[in-house]
């Protein structure tokens, strides 16, 4: 840990330009940064042969953290997709757990080495694990929303997928179902420009995923997914409205996948270097830091301190997780059926 340095306590008062407090802004930066630095180390571990597979959300941190912060943590359900590390960090996962999950270690609280990495599931935190079949979790979210509605439980379910997943039938069946029954579900689509290798124009004939909501008589919005504050400001009212019984909402966060699809993908085969350089200028971490620095929310040293803290947490998590035990072979058995 870095040496403690006296600093001004963070205010919890809402800043008018942000609709967020200083403390929330600090949290935002921390979670986005932690997500990115963890992902970088995960990719390095994969290249070293220590992790089998990495799928990350670099470029989507603002979209994830801003949206998750608009929820009631631990009360509202999250049915995320495999890039949503940032969301899970907001929902309580720490750096060590993230590494246990990547390495499929025995004590990974998501699945104890049974599920693929990044298919997070934590019943206590109300995070529902997804299948690798994309968009299937949108239906689970609709069902949870139905249960909440039938039980008069004022919770909201936020479920995520990429724009590529919106071509699947389950996406449309989920929107239709949620809209017919006016369920408290936020369909949060992170449009990162690529369905693995395919560009958006090969996936859909409409300009925005949000346009698809109209067919289901569902409200929708498009937000700049590279801007964490804008994301929060868009998602929060939709969540509040859904909680009050206003029905489902589709939000499309336009962002950009800065990395290849996964550790198994070579994006130089389909993405020009120049395009990547242009988008790197809009890196959500860079944008966020520039904005709060310019606005004088925190002194530069405080932001540097957050960076140092995150570096240290990630370093510690990797060293610690690598030494944790793997499951024993007999752990492959059990939990096939729930016993009465």
């Amino acid at each position: 840990m870095t040496a403690a340095r006296p600093r001004r306590p963070r205010s919890r008062e809402t800043l008018p330009d942000y609709l967020l407090s200083e403390q929330q802004l600090e949290d935002m930066y921390y979670y986005m940064l932690l997500s990115r630095r963890l992902s970088e180390r995960m990719m390095a571990l994969q290249r070293q042969g220590r992790a089998a597979f990495v799928i990350a959300g670099a470029g989507q941190e603002a979209a994830q953290v801003g949206a998750a912060m608009a929820l009631k943590k631990g009360t509202d359900y999250l049915a995320p997709y495999y890039r949503d590390l940032g969301m899970n960090l907001v929902y309580g996962m720490d750096a060590r757990e993230a590494m246990l999950n990547l390495l499929g270690k025995r004590d990974d609280p998501n699945s104890f080495g049974r599920q693929m990495p990044s298919h997070w599931g934590n019943a206590a935190r109300r995070v529902v694990t997804q299948s690798s079949v994309v968009a299937t979790q949108l239906l689970h979210a609709a069902g949870i929303g139905l249960a909440a509605k039938l039980s008069n439980d004022p919770i909201v379910v936020l479920t995520c997928c990429g724009e590529g997943s919106t071509s699947r039938g389950d996406f449309h069946e989920a929107l239709n179902f949620a809209s017919i029954h006016r369920l408290p579900v936020i369909f949060y689509i992170q449009n990162n420009g690529f369905a693995i290798t395919e560009r958006t124009e090969k996936e859909m004939a409409v300009e925005n995923v949000a346009d698809r909501a109209r067919a289901y008589n569902m409200q929708s919005a498009v937000v700049d997914g590279m801007d964490c504050v804008a994301v929060y400001q868009t998602v929060r009212p939709a969540v509040d409205q859904a909680r009050r019984g206003g029905g489902p909402f589709l939000i499309e966060a336009k962002c950009y996948r800065l990395w290849p699809h996964s550790s198994d993908d070579d994006d130089t085969r389909y993405r020009p270097r120049k395009e990547l350089e242009e988008w790197a200028k809009k890196d959500p971490l860079v944008l966020f830091r520039a904005r709060v620095e310019t606005d004088g929310i925190f002194p530069r040293e405080d932001l540097d301190e957050i960076e140092a803290r995150v570096e240290e947490e990630v370093r510690d998590a990797v060293q610690w997780a690598l030494m944790q035990p793997d499951p024993a072979p007999e752990d492959a058995l059990g939990y096939v059926y729930k016993e009465l």
Partner: protein, 325 residues
């Protein structure tokens, strides 16, 4: 005890479970106002209201996926799919999520859901309505598979399904809906899973079946007794997962012969699994190779004569038995 048809027994089970457990609700195509394609849910909308008897869009994956979510949210959904052939549209949700969630989360989550669907031929509904895919569902660890042959079992097994914390695939043969039988009216009447039923005792051959084929097995057993003085024992499996092989093996050790009857295809089918397990556990007791009487290796045709030609008959069972002597 009251005599009723299987569809009425199923409805009684649903009614009793809806009354007993406020977390139970029903969801499916045409199950509300219309009362279900096979009239199983008739009258339940009027009694329990649209929140608990819910009509859904025609979207099989959607119905099952939403059912999974509702189960995760603390309810006990009963989801009806019109036929087993249509359930293939939801196979991903059933197999990749409902059956696996408990395992993948190391026991953190589970999906207590009952999925009802109709199966089987004989009603001239042809190749995309009428197949018998019970064995397909039995293939997947994590699912329980129930196939009742009579009204009492239908009621007791369906009520038992609502008390299970796993996803139960409950498969009803369309030819059985009208089948009459005595049904206990005790609201606590349950039929435990994994307990095969010896419907008829015999000493010369064991005929094993489930769902619709049980009735053919019974008719064949009567024919064998009358025409050939062969005493056949008939075992109704009732559930394929869990599977009560002990009862089957005990019977085979007594009769020394086994014939497996199912409406499904022979190739790669559930009968092959039964045959292998009989071989593994009772090889030394067998006086003849295990025989399988199944449907022909074709998609189900429409024309009545063609359909009967494709399905196994009691004559086929008699023939298979006689070939063992």
């Amino acid at each position: 005890m009251a005599e009723m048809r299987m569809r009425d027994a199923l409805r009684e089970a649903l009614r009793e479970e809806l009354r007993r457990d406020p977390t139970v609700f029903l969801m499916g195509e045409d199950i509300g106002a219309y009362g279900g394609s096979y009239s199983v849910t008739k009258g339940l909308l009027e009694e329990f209201g649209p929140e608990r008897v819910r009509d859904t869009p025609i979207a099989e994956s959607g119905i099952i996926g939403a059912g999974i979510g509702a189960a995760l949210g603390g309810l006990r959904p009963m989801v009806e799919l019109m036929t087993i052939n249509f359930s293939l549209l939801a196979l991903d949700q059933i197999v990749n999520t409902a059956a696996k969630l408990h395992y993948m989360t190391n026991g953190q989550m589970h999906v207590p859901m009952v999925i009802r669907m109709a199966s089987g031929g004989g009603s001239q509904l042809a190749a995309t309505h009428s197949h018998s895919l019970e064995g397909l569902y039995a293939h997947f660890p994590g699912l329980k598979v129930v196939c009742p042959s009579n009204p009492a079992d239908a009621k007791g097994l369906l009520k038992r399904a609502f008390r299970d914390d796993n996803t139960v695939v409950f498969i009803e043969h369309t030819a059985n809906y009208g089948f009459k039988g005595e049904v206990p009216d005790d609201p606590d009447f349950l039929v435990e899973f994994g307990q095969a039923n010896v419907l008829r005792e015999g000493s010369d051959v064991t005929i094993v079946g489930y769902s619709g084929s049980v009735h053919q097995a019974m008719r064949a057993a009567a024919m064998l007794e009358e025409q050939d003085e062969i005493s056949a024992e008939v075992v109704d499996l009732r559930t394929l997962r869990p599977l009560d092989m002990d009862t089957v093996v005990r019977s085979v050790k007594k009769t020394n012969r086994a014939v497996i009857v199912e409406d499904a295809w022979k190739f790669g089918g559930f009968g092959g699994e039964l045959s292998a397990q009989i071989m593994e556990r009772a090889f030394d007791w067998l006086d003849a190779p295990v025989a399988r009487v199944c449907s022909k290796d074709v998609p189900m045709p429409y024309n009545r004569d063609l359909e009967f030609a494709a399905l196994p008959s009691e004559e086929d069972i008699v023939e298979a038995v006689l070939a063992m002597f």
